[in-house]
Symmetry: C2
Subunit: 271 residues, 2 copies
Amino acid sequence: MDIRPIGVFDSGLGGLTAVRVLRRILPEENLVYFGDTARVPYGGRSRETLLKYARQDLRFLRSLDLKAILIACGTVSTTSLDALQAENDLPIVGVVEPTCRRALLVTQKKRVGLIATLASVRSGAYESMLRKLDSSMEVFCQPCPLFVPLVENGRFRRGDVVIETIAREYLEPLLAQEIDTLILGCTHYPLLEEVISDVCGPGVALVSAGEESAFELKRLLTAQNLRGPSDRQGEANFFVSDQAEDFQRIASVFLQEDLQHVAGRVDIEQF
Amino acid sequence: MDIRPIGVFDSGLGGLTAVRVLRRILPEENLVYFGDTARVPYGGRSRETLLKYARQDLRFLRSLDLKAILIACGTVSTTSLDALQAENDLPIVGVVEPTCRRALLVTQKKRVGLIATLASVRSGAYESMLRKLDSSMEVFCQPCPLFVPLVENGRFRRGDVVIETIAREYLEPLLAQEIDTLILGCTHYPLLEEVISDVCGPGVALVSAGEESAFELKRLLTAQNLRGPSDRQGEANFFVSDQAEDFQRIASVFLQEDLQHVAGRVDIEQF
């Protein structure tokens, strides 16, 4: 048994969708979330910049004595996970491998689509992992650079012509490839599930990266005997690197609950 | 006469619309452009973070021995110009004052609209300047957080339902106030001129912040005898803080010419 908290980080507040899943499946655990809101979005940045940012994010979280870390950022997971795991002596779970394992279970036709940020798609990490798990897998990728700003500006609801038009444009090339499984490779995308389902229809199963990595973390904590005491309700603490003013409103959207917390402010360049 | 170059900076590549105007009205001048592409967008960041970034941007440019600086970033101009001018001994032109002077000349009804990033609108800088210049001026502001990502993803053309829907939503509250003049308070927005004109109709005059600040810089160089030799064609050099890969393609859009230059890479955190 281990009462230390689990750390979760993302470039912004999208990773809170993974926190929501963790609170559901590991209600007894304490969580610490860090969102690098001063430097969001990570999606278009170079590998070199991403690794630098990810190291700083991790150094901040490790200053809090954690037992494990979930990287809820698809971009960091696809570009920097190996380096971070090699440099740190605690369990670090990314989003790529658990998500690909799930996609492999779900697909019938072995035709899988991936939507993600430009950096995640460019990294080729989901493709290589899927092919490593099953070399006969066909993977079709589509970067969706406008999904994050649209979600962050509240444009994620059914009936909104803007998000529906963009979603159709991004998804139609994948549907033309007759995929039967679609990986949502960015933690913002669960909020678009309805819109994406409407475009894809019932023939395409959606696999959410944030959700699968939360399940993977639960398996790992159980296997390594790192779970917290089951007779308590865990707490969550939130930190951001830029203004915390809008945190409560935006975080409530991602967590899909009425959040009463304020977020602490971290000067991330100091780490 | 002064042969040193003029520095221009912006959070990303939008400020190149100001470079385009400078090359037209000051063709003999050498220009150095810096786009902080590693930390774009500035629009949603806190004042404190913005001042820190702006100081670093300026320190980099000053390492190149310039005669004057144009801050083509609306967000920096509205939040940090006074501090930067106080700390530096060369002429620094922002976008706010020249743009407001122009709006004052253009408006008949003294009802002026402003569209800009969230940080620029929050700063209240355009409003205070307009009222300082004419206390009877009525100013109506609208933050347009989706314009920058849409423009950067090529969604700025007439006939695109996405940009037209967003533009209508942003502009209709201003039109309901019967403005006759609209300030485009962000250097990305000149690319949206057609779409914005279509929504606003002929009764609203558009004033572009980038263009007015370029004219102001020309006046200032002339007045202070800092103009370059008129018998030459000036050159432009470009620097960015993150990957320069896509620079040529994106820069060509903003400059509206076929750019043959590559951009140098700057580690801006070192400044």
